[in-house]
Symmetry: C2
């Protein structure tokens, strides 16, 4: 198999993992968890979101979290930013990187952001410009890159157009999200076939949810096509258990098992990551669904 020697795993659990959790997590628990994640060898942690607290009350404490975590040298602490108001808050908390976001699907963008895609671009453009002049790097999330819960399949060409606009704004990396976890490797193949002739593979990250158990298969297909950056959440956190369209992220520890067994370096300690998953499981008070956590529990661990 043609595989890279090493990959970068970006931990999105504290943001994408927690944002749909009904159990309110105390600020100090978030901070303690992020501090643990910082000790695993991860080089990237998306710590919170500066979306208006009205929309995501769980992450209303983004500022405090970013200010009080122990910043480990070599780790990039990022946060989601929807607009200039969010950026101001994020800069005040001195995030290392900001993430802007929109959907490849018009229908999903309307429901998620209350704007058309065309109306979203100028908002993001301003945020990117300001963030860059403040010396920050910027990540751009494109969601529903495979399928939209409202409009069905999304064309790779549409994803390319959105990615084009994000890179033109000055975004440093684009993360391609299969938001509802519907994709199979043939979809990934078609998407990357459209994108890779246009963009540097090193500037694209894949962001899979594991709703249908296909996340690792999609990761392997992405690897074989040259992708080396993957988003995941410790414990497979993420998504609402009552919504078909929003199941958990690919679990960081499941990804680590896959990569390490294939001889691909991540620089991340598997056992410390599992410990971090157990830590947030304890806080949430419900069993997390990653395969490695299931093994841990089946061995009598919890």
């Amino acid at each position: 198999m043609k595989l890279p020697e090493k990959v970068i795993v970006k931990e999105v659990g504290p943001r994408d993992g927690l944002q749909n959790e009904k159990t309110v997590v105390a600020t100090e628990d978030k901070i303690a968890w992020i501090n643990s994640l910082s000790e695993t060898g991860l080089t990237y942690i998306e710590a919170s979101s500066f979306v208006h607290p009205k929309w995501i009350p769980q992450l209303a404490d983004a500022g405090t979290v970013l200010e009080k975590i122990k910043r480990k040298p070599g780790v990039t602490y990022a946060a989601l930013v929807p607009n200039m108001r969010g950026l101001e808050r994020a800069l005040k908390s001195d995030v290392d990187e900001v993430s802007v976001f929109l959907s490849a699907s018009e229908a999903h963008n309307l429901r998620n952001i209350n704007k058309s895609i065309a109306e979203t671009y100028p908002v993001l453009e301003k945020v990117v410009k300001e963030a860059k002049s403040a010396g920050k790097t910027v990540r751009g999330y494109i969601s529903t890159v495979i399928a939209c819960p409202y409009a069905g399949p999304v064309s790779p060409k549409q994803v390319r157009e959105v990615a084009d606009r994000l890179f033109a704004m000055g975004v440093d990396e684009v993360s391609l999200g299969d938001t509802i976890g519907a994709s199979v490797p043939a979809d990934v193949d078609r998407l990357l076939d459209e994108l890779l002739p246009h963009f540097d593979a090193g500037k694209l990250a894949m962001h899979f949810h594991d709703t249908r158990g296909t996340a690792l298969a999609n990761v392997v297909k992405s690897l074989e096509m040259g992708i080396t950056v993957f988003d995941s959440a410790a414990g497979g956190l993420g998504g609402c258990p009552y919504a078909k369209g929003a199941s958990g992220n690919a679990a960081t520890e499941d990804l680590l098992y896959l990569f390490h067994q294939m001889g691909i370096k991540t620089g991340i300690d598997f056992h410390k990551t599992l410990e971090a998953a157990k830590q947030i499981e304890g806080v949430l008070g419900k069993p997390l669904k990653s395969k490695q956590m299931e093994i841990y529990r089946s061995e009598g661990g919890a």
Copy 2:
């Protein structure tokens, strides 16, 4: 992607799925379940095991099950057979196909069969010969083809030697089992690289367990290498929840999602398969762990 037009999915739930279940399933419930599976479009159902009831009490009713199920034309009803005594019982119940089995790992074979691999061959040889002269087809299972719970990694060369012996006995198909669900696509690649120059891809089946969430990724790698026969269990049944080494089989309905989304025909109805999974879930009285069953429950279905 280079993918086959169609594949064969072999349902092993009634045997490999149930054999480790602590809840004793009534004979009539097994019969009703197999009758439902027969209506899904499946062409192969491993219905039970003629291993001595002392070892697997759950399947002590193999004879009655095989005799009382409604045989659907076009469906092969198979059963596991360890030795001549088992074969006699199986033939009395008029199975369509018998399955013999051994491990690629000496340590696992000793614990599972109480014999060395060398001591196992003559036993299987006699069974295969007798089954063939009774007009039956024969499947050979090789377990622990990737890793052994007692001895660690298993070499592809060792698997090839065992497969060689099975084909030499007259076995029609060899099913390669990753018994403990430890494999990643790089392992599958190495294994099939060793086997495919020697054996017809159409005579090899892959049998994955999903202990570490890698089953679908392994299936995709196998597909790309030319394999077109896959074992699975409805609901992802199988394995003991208290033993790390024996988690559930790849779930039939999760496999169907993968195949159908990739445009690969199976001839099997997804919804009827999900109904069959719900049926056995109701009998067992515990939530089954396939992703499609999780989606079903998350939608308020159970």
